[in-house]
Symmetry: C2
Subunit: 262 residues, 2 copies
Amino acid sequence: MTSETIKSDRPLILVTNDDGLEAKGLRELIEVVRSFGRVVVVAPADAQSGMSHAITVKTPLRVKKMREETDMVFYKCNGTPVDCVKLAFHQLLERKPDLLVSGINHGSNSSTSVFYSGTLGATLEGCINEIPSIGFSLLSLDSDADFTAAKSIAGRIIKKVMENGLPRSVCLNVNIPKGTEEELKGIKICRQNRGSWREEFDKRVDPLGRHYFWLTGYYHNNEPEAGDTDEWALRHNFVSVVPLQTDLTAYTMMDEIRQWDL
Amino acid sequence: MTSETIKSDRPLILVTNDDGLEAKGLRELIEVVRSFGRVVVVAPADAQSGMSHAITVKTPLRVKKMREETDMVFYKCNGTPVDCVKLAFHQLLERKPDLLVSGINHGSNSSTSVFYSGTLGATLEGCINEIPSIGFSLLSLDSDADFTAAKSIAGRIIKKVMENGLPRSVCLNVNIPKGTEEELKGIKICRQNRGSWREEFDKRVDPLGRHYFWLTGYYHNNEPEAGDTDEWALRHNFVSVVPLQTDLTAYTMMDEIRQWDL
């Protein structure tokens, strides 16, 4: 058996993020997945926070191989996280990957943040393409955050997903509180909390006297008492794991709307 | 009763889109909603197709009042469709609107396109904020498309939503085939089709000899035989109405993942 055959027998893992190729969280996640298989990293050149599931349709995409070593190759792309995933699937990888991991994001992606997050955009894109996909986020915006506990948790979850797989059209949204592994109370399987961002735009005046806005704001929890949500878990120092689906159909509403006699 | 009081008693309707303030589809949708109440239009300055649920966090947002007439005001914004909705909710509107409509998009937003579409991004953002919200799309990319039938359909659906409301966390994704109203076979309440885009990137070489990519591709339907999906309805010349929910939790998977003993 040649070394090529041995190499090609190992699982193929696609890694991406939305904080960009230089982010510490990406490096830490790569360290975790290296032991599970061959790793292909395709990450945005710059931070792409808030890019959600956006795709680039008006400008050309560029992708550059940055580095290659045993069982690992790094590409950087000028597009969004979802562009990275699409380029990987359709241009860079020789076959469908066995796993997609996105992150580890610097900052929370719990609750409705799944809609805004580029980290989760990439994860959901993997899921749409029927690849077992996991998005990881650490509840710290610090660019030099301590990922020790997050890496350990990520390793445990990746191992289980590699063993058990994930059903088609389901991916995982994993959020990890700050702190040491001893401080974490455990891992909770949760539902997505209901809430929204209350935007308090910061209204300013530029040197030419024109108004402009910066988006700021805070998260408003619509159900702070509920004990089965990701927000509750994180507030109580549990890791939250929310299985997400890409079918958004509100099945319970279909019959009611049929009564409207449209 | 003063005219101001009369005015403020009318429903308040927020209109946005992702094709930009100059798009014909937006003008046509405004014509439809004018008869239902006061209209505030907050739309992107330029086309924002593929912007999904993206928010602008790295650059300042600017918004400009373009025109005001009886019971109607137009704003243009340099951001994404979701930025437009957030600015409307938190800066421009004096109260929560009674309805949000987004579109009429030039081109389909059925199936998994809800993830990429700025039109649906804005619709889902309304829904997250508990506003009855509807996204409309016409299956024609023509910038001068005929919206006659689409307007009639939109009017019927808006009327029903104004009468019946929508449950919290549910919004509507309406796609309308091309053609006259007589050619349409009716309105079908559907589920989101399962499928994905098969990206065939167009790989080119720039004048400096460097490669770049344009995203192209075609939709692959994973369940072409299913008769209850939006794709099926549209292919058979029905208008498709898919109720969408903003809770992405895959509830059926929660127990299974609990067995993993993480």
